[in-house]
């Protein structure tokens, strides 16, 4: 009965999510306030449904559900949507919600095909430390995703300004200075969160595993991500990198995250979860 209900809720949520993104797209193409309002309302319902499904699942499994790839992706998509709605309320940066939720929707669809089972033998090693490690890492990834979105918006605005494309979009999108600043802020928060997440992961491995596999692709990949973003943060602050170049580097760094998240995980013989 539980499975039937959550499946129906999930299907409804996905349909609404798709409708919301289509409406946002319509507003992006041809300024349409009604479509924008409807899209935001749909998205708010999607957030409510995602939250309900998440809580129901948590009650069902009696743990914080971030252990499998499927659970992790769901939590990531939920956190991304939550933050995008909060940012929309606080910062009013046009198109942010749309672009962020294109990623969110993509992740939601990937989540549907991701493996759900916890690997054999993994269950007994679950601890609060591990859950915090995974959760913090995922939150850092959400913040990096938002930073990526602001970089995409920066490049779009830069292109329109340079090419003198005087459409409604140029006036709706925020100024270059603000987009660059927001992108940097997201990274500035995400880097220490990721660092803490990785430290907690190492601490867990030290306590639970016979030995830490320092050359495990996942560990190497995660530290590469941390190093690249730290370098970007430093370069941005010291003005060694700025504007368009910084935006391109930030997008490239996000690509490393995607590779680390989806590809390197499969190569790891140490990460039992995902």
């Amino acid at each position: 009965m539980y499975a039937v209900w959550t499946d129906r809720l999930h299907e409804g949520m996905i349909l609404l999510y798709a409708a919301s993104i289509l409406l946002y797209f319509l507003d992006f193409l041809h300024r349409n306030r009604k479509a924008n309002k409807a899209a935001f309302r749909f998205l708010s319902v999607v957030w409510a449904l995602q939250t309900v499904i998440f809580i129901l699942y948590m009650a069902h499994t009696r743990r914080f559900p971030v252990l499998t790839l499927s659970e992790g992706l769901y939590f990531y998509a939920w956190a991304l949507l939550t933050l995008s709605l909060a940012l929309n309320r606080l910062l009013r940066v046009d198109f942010t919600v749309f672009f962020t939720n294109v990623i969110g929707f993509f992740i939601m669809t990937v989540h549907a095909f991701a493996p759900e089972k916890v690997s054999q033998g993994a269950g007994r090693m679950v601890s609060e430390l591990l859950l915090m490690h995974i959760t913090m890492t995922l939150i850092a990834y959400v913040l990096f995703s938002l930073s990526f979105v602001f970089s995409v918006l920066y490049l779009l605005q830069y292109k329109w300004l340079k090419e003198k494309k005087w459409s409604h979009r140029i006036w709706r999108l925020n100024d270059l200075a603000k987009l660059e600043r927001l992108s940097k802020w997201m990274n500035a928060i995400a880097v220490p969160v990721l660092l803490l997440g990785l430290i907690l992961g190492l601490w867990w491995a030290y306590l639970r595993l016979p030995a830490i596999h320092w050359l495990d692709p996942k560990i190497v990949g995660s530290f590469v991500v941390l190093l690249v973003y730290s370098f970007l943060l430093y370069g941005g602050e010291r003005r060694h990198m700025f504007g368009k170049t910084l935006a391109y580097w930030n997008m490239a760094a996000f690509l490393i995250i995607l590779i680390n998240f989806f590809l390197i995980t499969g190569l790891s013989d140490f990460h039992l979860y995902y």
Binding site: L161, H168, W171, T245
Partner: protein, 443 residues
């Protein structure tokens, strides 16, 4: 009961006429009070700006209303009616209502969608309300108009984005830098164009202004107006090192800035964006400079392109607002319908005119030798007595209709005058509807 708009604006009258019929702000309340005393006028609001003088009135009859408004204008300004009558436009009922909505939304303005007119109409209405020249009908109509204009501004793009070249440059600067307060602006050329550019950019919040000119003395005069710095043309490249925005408007025959000159400057600036606005003709900056990564270069044609694109957006919004106006006119008429006062006033007027007609017949029977002229004079004067007698009862009936006890009061009114109509029985807005068509503006 009729709603009228009598006025002239920049479309109907040249400035020589408009300036003669412009109300002094300090006298506006007195003017509205004076118009209110005129026969036939039940309510009035006068809107007077540099582009328009418009009188909105509720009158007991359209033709007398029109006549007395013109009469008032002639008396107030001491000008013969014939001198301004050809420039007047007159709208009645639905067209008058739609015109007010169009004006307040900025659709009738010289700059399509300008928002200043909303404040001006609202202020005129509040003044009229305070001076007692509005009542139930205009209190509602003008509140509806203000609400509609606010809705039009928030729900459409009518008031968004620059529609003047100078403001377009400021908008561009804001799209690159956001806040202008700490931005350094270099004005190159201290002529008329440079002066205008400096005024606009200063008005947008920029406070660090440097003026560069071939003759530093001239630069000094302009810079002093903005507490800025003045430099000679030789200092141009140094000034650009820490500038954010540069606006050029010199009369130089060739480029004063080329891509080659800007390359080393860009390198030293460490990638900080530099906005170059070239409003000179012939141009001051080599268009090749736009290829530099952190340089944003715009010339006068680009700025005009922005204005054109934004005007198109406003025209699109104006079409949306035209639909909103049609709906608002219908909603207002529905509200008038609910008042039920119109049939009462119509019945009162019909009864009074029937008495006057009977009286005229009686006079003609008793004085058969009256000439045609004498007959007309007597008829005109008896009608005048009726109109003057009815003005206050009509005014009171109208106000009663807006009171909480409207139905009972109107019933009492009917009984006092023994009127053969029941409140709400006839089509209340029929009189207005008979004289007007539903407006269908295309923006």
């Amino acid at each position: 009961m009729r709603i009228l708009t009598v006025g002239l604006n920049y479309k109907s009258a040249p400035v020589e006429i408009r300036e003669q019929l412009s109300f002094d702000e300090a006298e506006l309340a007195d003017a509205m009070a004076a118009l209110q005393k005129k026969k036939s006028i039940l309510e009035n609001v006068i809107v007077s700006t540099c582009n328009r003088t418009e009188i909105y009135a509720v009158a007991d009859q359209a033709h007398t209303g029109r006549y007395y408004i013109k009469d008032f204008l002639s008396e107030w300004f001491g000008i013969d009616k014939e001198a301004f009558a050809p420039y007047l436009f007159i709208y009645e009922d639905n067209e008058a209502i739609a015109h007010l909505f169009k004006v307040i939304c900025g659709l009738d303005s010289m700059v399509l969608g300008e928002t200043q007119i909303l404040g001006q109409v609202r202020d005129s209405f509040l003044l009229a309300q305070a001076s007692g020249s509005t009542g139930t009908i205009f209190n509602r109509l003008f509140k509806d108009a203000v609400t509609l204009a606010k809705k039009a501004h928030t729900e459409t793009e009518i008031a968004s984005n620059a529609v003047s070249v100078s403001y377009a440059a400021v908008e561009l600067a804001k799209k690159i830098f956001g806040d202008m307060a700490d931005k350094k602006v270099v004005i190159i050329g201290a002529g008329k164009m440079g002066e205008l550019a400096a005024e606009n950019i200063h008005g947008s919040g920029a406070t660090r202004i440097t003026v560069i000119n071939r003759t530093p003395e001239k630069a000094g005069l302009l810079a002093a107006r903005f507490d800025g710095e003045a430099l000679g043309l030789a200092s141009l490249e140094t000034a650009l090192l820490d500038a954010d925005i540069a606006i050029t408007s010199t009369s130089a025959k060739g480029y004063i800035l080329t891509a080659d000159k800007l390359k080393p400057i860009e390198k030293k600036r460490n990638g900080r964006p530099l906005l170059l606005v070239d409003i000179a003709v012939p141009r001051d900056i080599d268009p090749e400079a736009a290829s530099l990564e952190s340089v944003f270069l715009y010339d006068i044609d680009d700025l005009e392109g922005i204005v054109e694109a934004n005007l198109k957006e406003r025209e699109k919004a104006a079409r949306q607002i035209a639909d909103m106006i049609s709906d608002a006119v219908c909603a207002f008429n529905e509200w008038v319908h609910t008042l039920g006062v119109v049939p009462v006033i119509t019945a009162l007027r019909e009864k009074a005119l029937a008495i006057q007609a009977e009286t005229m017949k009686s006079i003609e029977r008793k004085l058969p030798d009256l000439t045609e002229r004498e007959r007309k004079v007597i008829s005109k004067h008896t009608k005048s007595i009726i109109n003057q007698m009815l003005k206050d009862p009509i005014l009171q009936a109208k106000e009663m209709a807006g009171s909480p006890d409207a139905a009972r009061n109107l019933e009492l009114f009917r009984q006092i005058f023994n009127l053969e109509t029941e409140t709400g029985q006839a089509e209340p807005a029929a009189e207005m509807a008979r004289h007007a068509v539903r407006p269908s503006y295309s923006g």
